[in-house]
């Protein structure tokens, strides 16, 4: 059932079995496992059914680090949350993502990929994609990259191709997809305009007794429950834990200082280099490749471990020239006019335009960028700013550092490995750009909007915030769902794993004795 806080009696004290804070992909996935159960569940949504500008303003915060993270527009306060912004790109973690690596401090998860497989399959069904397709090598050659660089698919290749699938808009927009199911639910209430302003602990400080909620009209209430789940994203989850500091000065679950720490995203280093192919330019017929999934290359696991690098994604793409509409849409025409003019090739532009009617043009020279996994670093963190939002909750102070040595080393090693693969096959060369050689390419802002870490999962409270079941250390009934619990960030888009892990948490909550 859908309700609004303004329709509830003033200062009401509501009581449920389970209270889920947030209705994005994580919150909805947890709740999906609780639908039609004997449990009485409430989902608290800060915004409305669709985004409302005054509630969106509660996202505002400050950036104090050298790298800029868009705190405002990358999140939606409404039913379905950021799924309304999501491009739908899905990929599973690899088994080695969960393993401890000697060269990567704080790496390793307390769970393995085997703990997630069944939930990955379930998440795939929710998203209308195929779990099996991720692991079927035959699909490699059906992709544009697979056709363009079919020689990479060889035994002992230095590179591996990771399959990504695109969930279509009908399946990925959780707000639209699950509206009717939750609105008609008998055991789950969704309460809108209900922003959590405080988690209230019991007198021993060992469990959450209630949460305080408020709207922008001045209405307030408290919600009591046996179990609480924070599912508000990797920026808001630590914000709520840190600002709930009336019992513990450092906030809840923060005895070791890990709440807010180890923020990670997937920075994309553009303009790394150019790939010069020795073969002729091609026009690849669009009937020959599929559009709903693609392959991205990275160093093989063996090469990554040998070179002690992070996971990454080699992005090999066609230069957006003056003839490409993308140049104008992305604003490149203003920011890179000199480069565009310098690289303008009339004949190539004509060929490109003609080719686009029937397929994809693959010139001899392609651009190279590298998308990066970020290591868990204490210096990348979310803390509380000195100013408050309209509800009196401290705003976010985001400190996102410049790229570290291991990140830069990964860019170099992966580019060199690509060059080696091209060289072994005698099909091309890689040339670094002058921007890369001068370090200019490392200056980035976040076009990806993946928010990861900040309430990390660990074996113990000394190095994390939640345990393997996503329960906050030291608090018996508080759980966290979403990418904030990821111990490491991998390179794949996080939402598919967020959904799988949240389904796992939902099952756990349904199974435990309340």
């Amino acid at each position: 059932m859908f309700k609004f806080l303004e329709d509830i009696a003033p200062e009401a004290a509501l009581t449920y079995d389970i209270c889920i804070v947030g209705t994005g992909p994580a919150g909805i996935s947890v709740a999906k496992k609780l639908l039609d159960s004997d449990l009485k569940v409430v989902m608290l949504e800060s915004g409305g059914m669709v985004p409302e500008s005054e509630y969106q303003q509660l996202n505002e915060g400050e950036n104090s680090g050298p790298s800029f993270l868009d705190l405002d527009s990358s999140r939606l306060r409404c039913f379905g949350g950021a799924s309304g912004l999501w491009a739908g790109v899905c990929g599973p973690f690899k088994s080695d993502d969960f393993e401890k690596k000697s060269f990567l401090p704080l790496s390793g998860w307390p769970i393995s990929i085997d703990d997630l497989k069944v939930y990955y399959k379930e998440a795939a069904k929710m998203l209308g994609i195929s779990y099996e397709k991720f692991y079927n090598k035959a699909f490699f050659r059906d992709t544009l990259n697979g056709i363009s660089f079919k020689q990479f698919d060889r035994k002992n290749s230095f590179l591996t191709g990771n399959v990504f699938q695109i969930s279509n808009s009908k399946n990925r927009d959780f707000g639209a997809k699950y509206k009717n199911e939750f609105e008609s639910s008998q055991n789950i209430d969704v309460l809108f305009h209900s922003t959590v302003t405080q988690l209230n602990l019991n007198i021993e400080g060992s469990e959450v007794e209630s949460v305080s909620i408020a709207d922008l009209l001045g209405n307030k209430a408290t919600v009591k429950a046996n179990q609480f789940v924070l599912a508000c994203g990797a920026l808001e989850n630590p914000r709520i834990l840190l600002s709930s500091n009336s019992y513990y000065e450092e906030g809840i679950g923060n005895s070791s200082g890990f709440v807010g720490a180890c923020f990670m995203s997937h920075p994309g280093v553009q303009n790394v280099g150019e790939v010069h192919r020795t073969s002729d330019e091609q026009c690849i017929d669009k009937n020959k490749y599929k559009a709903d999934y693609y392959v991205a290359f990275e160093m093989s696991s063996k090469q990554r471990l040998k070179h002690k690098t992070l996971r990454h994604s080699l992005s090999i793409y066609q230069f957006m020239g003056l003839a490409s509409p993308s140049t104008y849409i992305s604003g490149r025409i203003f920011s890179q006019f000199d480069k565009l003019l310098d690289k303008f090739d009339f004949l190539s532009s004509v060929k490109q335009t003609v080719c686009k009617l029937s397929g994809t043009y693959l010139p001899n020279t392609l651009e190279l960028g590298v998308g990066l996994e970020q290591p868990p670093r204490l210096s990348n963190n979310v803390s509380l700013h000195t100013t408050n939002d309209a509800l009196g909750v401290p705003k976010i102070d985001m400190y996102w550092d410049s790229l570290s040595e291991i990140e830069k080393r990964t860019v170099v090693a992966s580019s060199e490995t690509l060059a080696r693969e091209l060289g072994v096959l005698n099909i091309g060369h890689v040339k670094y750009t002058s921007e890369f050689l001068t370090g200019e390419s490392y200056k980035f802002d976040d076009p990806i909007n993946h928010h990861i870490g900040t309430t990390r999962m660990s074996n113990n409270s000394e190095t994390g915030v939640v345990d393997k079941n996503c329960k906050v250390f030291g608090i018996s009934n508080l759980y966290v769902a979403g990418s904030s619990v990821f111990s490491t960030s991998s390179i794949v888009n996080p939402t598919y794993t967020i959904i799988a892990m949240s389904l796992r948490l939902g099952k756990y909550l349904r199974d435990i004795k309340l």
Partner: protein, 120 residues
């Protein structure tokens, strides 16, 4: 004028030995008789790095130069190109690479760029 068979054979042998000896002397390295071979190699062999972007290619290439000359004199052009390509691929396989004016090239390619700058 008639010459005896013995004189004909002796003179021929002497010429072959003479050329072979002269080619081996260090002071004759780089002389046209050798550089012509390397020049003709670069006429047949395409290095995909533009000439204007290989100005950073300088240094010692004695071993590669000897190898190239040896291959050209014993194997001929086609086999030399095949052998050089194998050496380059082996470099990439083993990770023997370096950066030159932004280009990631194998050690053998780098040596060839030096020779190209010197002889062509």
């Amino acid at each position: 004028m008639a010459i005896s068979r013995r004189l004909f054979v002796s003179t021929g042998l002497l010429c072959v030995v003479g050329v072979w000896y002269v080619k081996g002397l260090p002071i004759f390295k780089g002389l046209p008789i050798l550089s012509n071979n390397i020049e003709s190699f670069f006429e047949s062999y395409e290095l995909n790095i533009p000439v204007e972007e290989s100005s950073e290619a300088f240094g010692e290439t004695e071993i590669l130069e000897k190898k190239l000359v040896s291959l050209l004199s014993t194997e001929g052009m086609e086999e030399t190109i095949i052998a050089i390509n194998k050496m380059i691929q082996n470099d990439y396989q083993m990770g023997n690479i370096r950066s030159m004016s932004g280009w990631i090239v194998s050690e053998v390619e780098f040596g060839l760029l030096i020779l190209r700058n010197r002889y062509v």
